[in-house]
Symmetry: C2
Subunit: 193 residues, 2 copies
């Protein structure tokens, strides 16, 4: 066991959230970096993205920390590393999930940003923008609803929370649709003041 490096204290306080995404995906069955990326694209992408370039370094880091174990498992002549979560990995994931820390909610929405400044536009242009923002959320609701069957199938397997996060996404965008629609009616009705 290596001697503890006292000066490293500040870099130690747990992994970053991206590493927990990778750890979590391995814990629910992703075996390769490629599969981690695929699962992210199908699920957490709507509230947490990571790029492929982050995944492979992250896997190495998690393995060095003893939270996952990898072994070579080439398919024919194509190289491949398959990973499994370790007991320490499960413990670390559970600790993170149960830890009562801030859980930042970060939103960066160009649509809302544009709407905020829409009073500088003509009435018609502002209405068009509002309509575009509503449509965007409607499209997103449609996209997410299309994923519901998959999430329900996953639920049958005993994983209930992916469906919950999907419903959260749907509800969030539906709420935006509703507020936009109400405001559109008001604006279309009374262009004055």
């Amino acid at each position: 066991m290596p001697a503890p490096a006292a000066h490293r204290a500040t870099t130690e306080p747990g992994l970053g959230a991206p590493a927990y995404v990778v750890l979590g995906m391995i814990s629910i069955g992703a075996r390769t970096g490629y599969e981690v990326k695929q699962m992210v694209e199908q699920s957490t992408r709507f509230f947490w993205t990571i790029s492929q370039a982050q995944i492979y370094p992250s896997l190495r880091h998690l393995e060095q920390a003893g939270l996952i174990t990898g072994r070579e498992d080439p398919q024919g002549r194509r190289p491949r590393r398959v990973f499994e979560i370790t007991a320490a990995g499960h413990a670390e994931l559970a600790a993170w999930l149960s830890r009562e820390d801030p859980m930042p909610f970060e939103l960066r929405d160009t649509g809302m940003l544009k709407l905020f400044f829409a009073d500088t536009l003509d009435h018609d242009e502002a209405l068009a923008l509002l309509h575009a923002v509503r449509r965007r959320s409607e499209d997103r609701v449609g996209l997410l609803r299309a994923l519901e069957p998959v999430a329900r199938a996953v639920e049958e397997q005993g994983y209930h929370h992916p469906l919950l996060t999907l419903e959260l996404g749907i509800a969030v965008h539906q709420a935006m649709v509703d507020v936009c629609a109400a405001f559109e009616r008001r604006q279309a009705a009374g262009p004055r003041t």
Copy 2:
């Protein structure tokens, strides 16, 4: 006028969204970099943050582009630059607001991320996490509701859209509260399956 640089074509297609935040804030009355930052903290912060370090370089850039004009206006011996939007600036802002481009909606939510993996937890721990996420959105709803009087006052001044974006934020978090509460009831009732 400088000779056009052909190789710069890729860096030219409009300002980034952060620059439009600054331009927009100037257009609705912010006069100094300091005031831009303050207004962002009171309003767009919930769907678009920028740090102070971005603002001053951005102001210089907008001025060079002729979208705002600045003049020295020291208060006593304290240096200060006050800015105003130009006709070109108004045109550029309006063009951006009306431009039909993608309007990315980016969400990065640690709460939803944790929930996604909550099936790896015990029933009680998962419930506690769910409860924590609900509380977080309830707090956010409370915080945003406290801003409503300000937004209503602003509306009296003829700026209707800041209130709209505030209502959007409230609705989004209220939707999350509702979905969490419904799921909590289901989970608390039937711990089985």
